[in-house]
Amino acid sequence: MSLYIGSIVIFCGLLLALSVVLEIAARFFVDAGPFTIDVNNGERTLTAEGGSTLLNVLTDNKIFIPSACGGQATCGYCKVRLPDSSIADVLPTEKAFLNRQELANGTRLACQVKIRRPLSVRIPQHLLSVQQYRAKVISTVSVTHDIKELQFKLIDPPTMDYSYGHYIQVSIPDPQEGAISRAYSVSSPIDQKDVIELNVRLHPARGKIPAGKGSTYLHNLKVGDEVIITGPYGEFELDTDPKTELICVGGGAGMAPMKNLILSILEHIPKKPVWLFFGCRTRADVFYLDLYQKLSQKHPHFKVIYALSEKADDHWDGETGFIHLSVDKYLPDDLRAQQAFLCGPPPMIDAVTEVLLDKNMRPERIFYDKF
């Protein structure tokens, strides 16, 4: 009996002693801060406790870096530049998201940077104007069998200054992780500063793939519900020259940025020629076609082409086949001066990009949003 008690006492006692020693050592050696974090060369100075991640510190200080995965290094959105950082600091979890140029200029994923010393960080200017908003659902309309058009009225702050092709992030309550973020393109025109409109496709559970958390949440919202959104985000820069043609190609649920671009351009730069190519699977997936047809009758510079990839019925007078075939068919062979905005599933983006490059479009003039 004494053997059992003795061994338990010795074992626990020794572990306890070691833990106490380590705890005391930690007091002496671990620098818990606070550290100063310099944002954009003195524009703002934050203080942070040691050990927390840069992304959390920035969010706590109302600087909203885009992040869809909530700090797990799976989305690769939260890129910031640390001028003092070297390639040796980059963790293996980040390497998959950084290209050679980004590795060389000190770009890191903010969610993977642990604060252990004073830092200097460069954040793109447009992200500093990103704010967190409380918003209320004012309308939900099913535009197809699986896509909903949702409108949010901003409450606090009351307006958002978003621009061409921008997107926002919706905070989605999650029982496991507290809250996660999902990004959605804004579909309302840029003048409508107090109401944000989104097009959200429902992703139901399919086999072993669970239902999309963001789309399920948004599809279940009712008029009057409140949501938290952050924005505006966006890297797209529209060429505002009225002579430059804009080619919009969307597919599936990739309609939201197109609607924003087209409505805004027709309002502000009515002389600018715009093409809209939109690919759907069947007649049931087509939406907003009437709206665009009316607009194109009013605006001769705006041309709209819808294509169905699966069988079309007799009443369908649009194109058939994948959308990149229509892009190839309608556009001239020399697209040196044009600009393109693509939004849709990756195979569609890849196919359309290939067609555009074949037609001599410059790669830097093609902007895309793959999802």
Binding site: I10, S19, A88
Partner: protein
């Protein structure tokens, strides 16, 4: 048992009975962190420190708490030796990790996962167990721990030096990064046999 003197054990543990080259203990971090001399020296120093301290501490724990003939309590708790030795090593590695992170961020990042993995570096546990098997007294145990750590460090620094040169030579593709290191380690071990006649444990 008539044990050899302090300095004999120290030198023997470094050269003739090098824990890595004669017992092939601690191979994983030896292969993984031997690309640059600088990091090899850093890891080597950490191993020397942990190995020396844990040898002394584990000797005390074994003879004063666990071994029924010499302990203060007189119970035969020797079956606890493995788990307690590892606990002591783990605690020391935690301690070293804190110190390195404080002193040198670069070294901390360069060592990466291999710093916490010193915990399971078999060279250290091997040294602790061998000094019990060979029945060294306290001072000789420290000599053996220090010698084993230094011997391991010597081996990893030498191989890192060779690997730095190796970058400029044409290694057959099939040997890759690690295959050639295994072969060099074997040749190094054979070279160390040259010391064998000088002193022995």
């Amino acid at each position: 048992m008539d044990s050899p003197a302090f300095w004999v054990i120290l030198l023997a543990a470094i050269f003739t009975n090098n824990i890595l080259l004669s017992n092939f203990l601690g191979m994983c971090s030896f292969l993984a962190v031997s690309k640059r001399v600088e990091t090899a020296v850093g890891l080597g120093l950490a191993v020397v420190f942990v190995c020396t301290c844990t040898s002394a501490l584990n000797w005390i724990i074994y003879y004063k708490l666990l071994n029924p003939e010499t302990s203060w309590i007189g119970l035969d708790l020797r079956f606890l030796s493995f788990i307690l030795f590892i606990a002591v090593i783990a605690a020391f590695v935690q301690f070293v990790e804190m110190v390195i992170e404080k002193v040198s961020q670069t070294l901390y990042l360069a060592l990466g996962i291999f710093l916490p993995l010193i915990t399971v570096n078999c060279a250290i546990l091997g040294a602790c167990l061998l000094l019990i098997i060979r029945q060294y007294d306290f001072v000789r145990s420290i000599a053996y721990g220090l010698g084993s750590g230094l011997g391991w460090m010597l081996a990893i620094v030498v191989i890192a030096g060779i690997r730095e040169r190796l970058r400029f030579s044409h290694v057959p593709a099939a040997l890759g990064q690690t295959g050639i290191v295994m072969i060099i380690t074997g040749i190094m071990a054979m070279a160390f046999i040259g010391f064998a006649g000088m002193i022995s444990l």
